[in-house]
Point group: C2
């Protein structure tokens, strides 16, 4: 392995990123459009991503599942990247955390409700 080989990042195209992350190509393009991803371009204009982009996309999916919007995630990215935050960002992080926690509690309550219904319908066949 030469120095230049070690220095050169291995870049992958959009299809590989999408497949490895388990999302559609369209989704990846969308993330870029929303400022969540930045891609280099090949001379012919094709997007080239660093391989750890897959990890990032999986992170996005997780945040989407938690109800964060792409805008919020974009605001969070600096924290994630640099590990450096100002007071406002930290407040936002905690706010999102609390929102998710509240959502978990809501879901748990809904779950309990459904379990009640299930219990009733099982004893009343």
């Amino acid at each position: 392995m030469t120095v230049t080989e070690a220095a050169a990042e291995r870049l992958v195209r959009i299809g590989e990123v999408a497949r490895d992350a388990g999302v559609s190509v369209r989704a990846v393009r969308y993330y870029e459009q929303q400022g969540l991803l930045i891609a280099e371009r090949s001379p012919s204009g094709q997007r080239l991503y660093r391989q750890d982009t897959v990890t990032l996309v999986r992170f996005f999916q997780q945040m989407f599942a938690a109800g964060l919007t792409s805008r919020r995630i974009a605001e969070l990215l600096p924290c994630w990247d640099t590990g450096h935050t100002d007071a406002e960002q930290r407040a936002m992080l905690r706010a999102e955390r609390d929102r998710i926690q509240a959502k978990v509690d809501d879901l748990q309550a809904a779950l309990d409700r459904l379990d009640e219904v299930i219990a009733i319908t099982d004893t009343h066949p």
Copy 2:
């Protein structure tokens, strides 16, 4: 209190239902349109609801929060009302339950991720 007074249901108009349940008037009309609520009508055409409608609307909100669609809720209503279900409905109930449980797990994972980020940003001020 006379017999007729005891027998007569107290009916409320849409505004009261909405306010007591903490939703908009528009939302209540929407629920009716989706077959979740049935209203009597006054001679002039105004909707009249039984007072326990408020409970029902709160239940809807809980289910919406859990990610159920109004269609699903409409399919669940017979179980809820009569306490009587066929096999298909019981299967649906369990499927929804499992879906919600999975969602709770996802959210918990996202929460843990965010907590990691928060921990890092707190130690890296």
